[in-house]
């Protein structure tokens, strides 16, 4: 879906608020929505639902494996069952349960993965989940969404509640740029073009979409480069059509995600591109390392998750496109900011 509107910064708000509010909307619409708590209900905002529908909320304690499989029991009894914890524990502690009990049963279980990514901040590496996109997108039957901001998180939460089958929504802790509104389109599985351009396609998810929009603006201002910016909020099922279309139009791609560069959005895009229309791709993300304590914005800089890396990667990808495949080996990792 093409969005013609310009995106402006509307303030900052954590995506987890969108999740919490979306759950309440679902609770109002459907009597069979139930929510399971994992002792951090005030952090992942399932507390909104608990306070509103206490009779449909159940505290399971610090027991992610149990909660995930209890959710399956509810789902197999006709409920739309949500469980939410931090992504560090809601995608990994229960990995087996997700694979066999949730996905193999095609159970109507929805997982809210909170406090995801590096922007958890001072809690440090143990709590900074940077790998779950890679795992979750390999699970058959799973739908995986990484919304870009508060408003989209709310829409996505409602949308996964209204679809049948396993789904996971990944959101974060800290207040991050808000730039979509009630009116911005959102459909599961449909990547949205947030800015048009034909020199380079920047495909991003989560908080990196905003960084991509800034990078596109800077590329235009400094170099006259026109970037197409795509919000690929649904990692699975991935929007093959939009990705191939962008590869053909731009001839070079940068992916950006708050996640390891291995196995995540970048890998999902690369799988599509390599099979259908090979073009150079550069990957922005965490480079095979664990996170660390620090303030969220500080960590985004330290771990290379800002518009600057997207900008530099775009220049590299364009350079590779222009040199042609035979020349690719000559391209070195130039730091374009120290030119």
């Amino acid at each position: 879906m093409k969005q013609t509107n310009e995106f402006k910064l509307l303030g900052k708000k954590p995506t987890r608020h969108g999740f919490g509010e979306g759950l309440v909307v679902l609770g109002e619409r459907y009597d069979n929505v139930i929510v399971l708590g994992g002792d951090i209900t005030g952090s992942v905002m399932t507390s909104f639902f608990r306070d509103r529908f206490p009779e449909r909320f159940f505290s399971i304690g610090v027991a992610e494996q149990n909660a995930t499989t209890i959710a399956v029991g509810f789902a197999l009894s006709g409920k739309i069952a949500f469980f939410s914890s931090y992504s560090a524990f809601a995608a990994f502690r229960n990995a087996d349960q997700l694979r066999v009990s949730v996905c193999y049963n095609e159970a109507n279980v929805k997982i809210g993965g909170g406090h995801s990514g590096i922007t958890v901040g001072p809690d440090g590496a143990t709590h900074q989940s940077l790998e779950e996109i890679a795992y979750l997108r390999t699970l058959p039957k799973m739908t995986l969404i990484v919304p870009c901001d508060y408003s989209q998180a709310k829409k996505a939460t409602i949308a996964i509640g209204e679809m049948h089958g396993p789904a996971y929504i990944r959101f974060g802790r800290s207040a991050v740029p808000m730039f979509t509104t009630e009116d911005t389109e959102f459909e599961i599985g449909k990547a949205d073009i947030y800015r048009e351009g034909s020199d380079i396609a920047i495909i991003a998810c989560g908080i990196m979409v905003w960084e991509a929009l800034i990078a596109a603006e800077e590329l235009n201002k400094r170099k006259g480069i026109k970037a197409r910016v795509i919000n690929c909020h649904t990692i699975k099922p991935i929007d093959i059509i939009t990705i191939i279309d962008s590869a053909k139009l731009c001839g070079a791609i940068v992916t950006a995600e708050e996640h390891q560069i291995h196995g995540g959005l970048g890998a999902a895009v690369a799988e599509v591109v390599v099979k259908n229309y090979p073009v150079p791709i550069e990957f922005v993300g965490v480079r095979d390392s664990f996170g660390s304590s620090g303030e969220p914005e500080e960590l985004m800089v330290k771990f290379g998750l800002t518009w600057k890396e997207i900008y530099a990667s775009a220049l590299r990808a364009i350079q590779r496109k222009e040199m042609g495949e035979t020349q690719i080996r000559k391209v070195t990792d130039v730091d374009f900011f120290n030119e």
């Binding site: 610090v62 809690d123 143990t126």
Partner: protein, 294 residues
Amino acid sequence: MELNIEFSQEIFENKRRQAEDFRPLATEIRRDIIKSLVLAKSGHSGGPLGIADVMAVLYFGAYMKYNPKNPKWEERDRFVLSAGHLCPVLYSVLARAGYFPIDELKTLRKYGSRLQGHPGIDMNLPGLEVSTGSLGQGISIAVGMAMSDKLVDKNNRKVFCLTGDGELQEGSCWEAAMAAANFKLDNLCWIVDNNDCQIDGRVRDVMSIYPLDKKFEAFNFDVINIDAHNYNEIIAALDKFIDNHKNKINKPTAIIAKSFMGKGVSFMEDDYNWHGIPPNPEQALKALEELSNT
């Protein structure tokens, strides 16, 4: 409000002490916790304060063999903080033991610090045995260490492990309990910080784990119930474990330490809302005042 935070530089010896001699040590540890947390501006206050008395006796009462000048000493006893979020108390204790400069407590949770928000051995903090933070895993690691010591290396080392009580909702804790008893790990001392608090409320309300002592007994542990703020009881419990180990009773020991979250700071005591937040400067000042009168 600007706070001028300075840390005392006193190093604590690891030796036999009279019960009341632990009090000033625990108070200093509590002061360290408050100071490092107010500087960090995030982190967990309640749990660390609540278990400070037990940690003071454990580390400075000659129950553990360790050498801060040689952190990797092969004969040392090991401590595993399964409840990784309680690390402010561990960092204080390790600093006071002399493992690293006390002023490093000022760097808690900052970028580049060896004092990560949850313990990470990737930062090479001396005295820290293992990375933890995902609840319920440390205790199984401790079981593995104790098995390695007793069943393979056949040495005399001991393993101590501290878990929370909310943490015990993780089913893997009970897999660890089963294994500890199955392998007759009398070299394992499992301490439960039983403050009945967790993030969402009282443990008994969020997901009851009770009765706790009977559970551990059924798993074939030697179970000792204590008041976690009574030094005589802490000493007696740790003495009992040492005897159990010496006498090779072929059972692991569980010390259920009935504690109060936030102990020592009146406005934090027994209040689960202090699980995961730091004091602000005003609160820190008030806390430090209270902690200078004990």
